[in-house]
């Protein structure tokens, strides 16, 4: 299943204004960047997982966290070996592998990756693309053309994933071997990416033509019939997110 796919629901998170969700996701991300405390960042991740579980999104949030932890783990390893300052923790043959500063900054970076990306990725699980696009146009007065570009890009992700698998199958059936080393795989990327690029361009061209035929250029702020009012829950969510940013700055 695609981890960016929308999960229908009627929880408090689902019912928030899409603009609020977007702002809250960014504010939580800022929290993770501002904070220098490992404990605070872990607490933030646990808090996010708790809120998601309460809103019936626990399974998705855990799967996302697991995927992000892999990315965070990679960053952890890089950071561990690149930071050379601080007391040595692991040395062999006169060469220091790990330092105290390296370890603490690597742990923080790994956790930051999870804490900043988790809310942004969860945004797609609780927000329909049409609503996000509509709210950006209605409430933030973003020109429809630009809001459409962003939302369409995300809508195309699962389509391209499935197209990519089909192309890979077609090339395997021709005798292309993708089970070799990384250099071999890179060399054989042409048979994968050229057809993908061509089919993407064709899809985009066909999409643009059908959008034009349906009056894309005529669309303005007043075209959408759905309203996206801000409620008390939205204000509460933003205040809570701001509070978190404040706490992150202090702790």
């Amino acid at each position: 299943m695609n981890l960016l796919q929308y999960l229908p629901g009627n929880s408090v998170l689902h019912r928030l204004n899409p603009v609020t969700k977007l702002a809250a996701a960014f504010l939580v991300g800022i929290c993770a960047i501002v904070s220098h405390s490992v404990v605070f960042t872990i607490s933030l991740i646990i808090l996010l997982l708790g809120i998601c579980t309460a809103c019936g999104l626990g399974k998705r949030a855990l799967r996302l966290t697991r995927s992000l932890l892999v990315l965070g783990g990679m960053m952890f390893v890089f950071q561990l070996f690149f930071v050379r300052s601080g007391d040595p923790l692991l040395s062999a043959g006169g060469f220091t592998f790990v330092t105290r500063d390296g370890l603490s900054s690597a742990v923080l970076l790994g956790l930051r990756i999870v804490a900043t990306m988790l809310p942004l990725m969860l945004l797609f699980a609780i927000t329909e693309m049409n609503d996000l696009c509509g709210a950006l146009v209605k409430r933030l007065h973003v020109p429809y053309r630009y809001a459409f570009i962003v939302t369409t890009a995300f809508r195309f992700v699962p389509l391209f994933t499935s197209e990519f698998h089909d192309i890979e199958d077609a090339q395997k059936a021709r005798g292309v071997e993708y089970d070799g080393g990384i250099i071999k795989k890179l060399k054989l990327s042409v048979p994968l990416f050229v057809p993908l690029m061509m089919s993407s361009l064709k899809k985009v061209d066909a999409g643009a033509m059908s959008a034009q035929l349906r009056g894309f250029n005529l669309r303005t702020v007043s075209s959408g019939y759905r309203e996206y009012p801000f409620t008390a829950a939205d204000i509460g969510c933003i205040l809570f997110s701001l509070l978190l940013v404040g706490a992150a700055a202090v702790l």
Partner: protein, 285 residues
């Protein structure tokens, strides 16, 4: 050439599956695989070339189980033409596209040049064409040429004529038929087009709900209305008309009629016989 022995396969997270399939395709046969959407036709074609591996049972290609060799090795024996040629075409010129498969096989450059030149002539292509800007029919022809230039023993066609006009469709099918008859190329064709099946295939496998419910000569399958009905497939028009004309007749006259030419010849013969009988009657009276 291709043998399925009690093969079952189920897609993960899906209800689609094929169950307990057993059949054997001999070298030099032209076999069509028919059935409604979701019957398992494409699954069988992907199991045949190792893109899918069976959950149980064994698929033998030229005597070797597909599970014991890599898909890329299978590709040397079994060519696969997809419905959409754009998933396959990846080079800037037709010449490079045809040479791509041969290079993957590790052939010497001299032989690659020779085979590419021959294929360009046979398929009436231009080696310098930019493949992506050609018409759908031409792209399909380029894709087929790049499969056949590798000289596979078996070619699997997944809806090969979708989106082609009659002329393009005939050109491709006639070429495959010639290779099948003259060089013993085995063809396994997945198709919805019953006219195409009745015209070109010698044997038909009928699928429904992932199970093989019919396997026989094209003539027999096309006249088996209950079987086609179970597979939710309409028979080709000429065999269907022949069946209707024979319905209730003591002596069926259209039993071996499957093409427009055969129908025309049979009607002409019957007209002649009738006028001869009528003429005799007049003399007698």
């Amino acid at each position: 050439m291709l043998r399925f022995e009690d093969v079952s396969f189920r897609y993960p997270h899906s209800d689609s599956s094929v169950e307990h399939l057993s059949f054997h395709i001999q070298k030099g046969e032209f076999v069509a695989l028919i059935g409604s959407n979701g019957a398992g036709k494409s699954t069988i074609s992907r199991l045949s070339n190792g893109l899918l591996k069976p959950d149980s049972g064994t698929v033998y290609l030229d005597g070797t189980p597909t599970t014991s060799i890599r898909t890329s090795q299978i590709a040397r024996k079994a060519g696969f033409l997809f419905q959409n040629p754009d998933r396959q075409i990846c080079q800037n010129t037709v010449r490079e596209e045809l040479a791509f498969g041969l290079r993957l096989m590790g052939l010497p450059e001299q032989e690659i040049r020779e085979r590419t030149r021959e294929a360009i002539e046979q398929f009436s292509l231009d080696g310098d064409w930019f493949p992506f800007s050609r018409s759908r029919g031409e792209r399909q022809r380029i894709a087929l040429a790049s499969v056949l230039v590798c000289r596979p023993q078996l070619v699997i066609l997944d809806e090969p004529t979708t989106g082609l006009d009659y002329r393009e469709c005939t050109a491709i099918m006639d070429y495959l038929t010639r290779l099948n008859r003259e060089e013993g190329l085995t063809v396994l064709m997945v198709s919805h087009d019953m006219e195409l099946v009745s015209q070109y295939a010698g044997r038909v496998l009928v699928l429904t709900g992932g199970q093989l419910i019919g396997d026989g000569a094209t003539h027999d399958v096309m006249r088996d209305q209950p079987l086609l009905g179970r597979a939710h497939v309409l028979p080709a028009q000429i065999p269907a008309l022949a069946l209707k004309l024979d319905a209730g007749a003591k002596q069926p006259q259209f039993e071996d009629v499957f093409t427009v030419e055969e129908m025309f010849e049979t009607i002409c013969r019957l007209r002649k016989e009738m006028s001869a009988t009528a003429g005799k009657g007049e003399v007698l009276s």
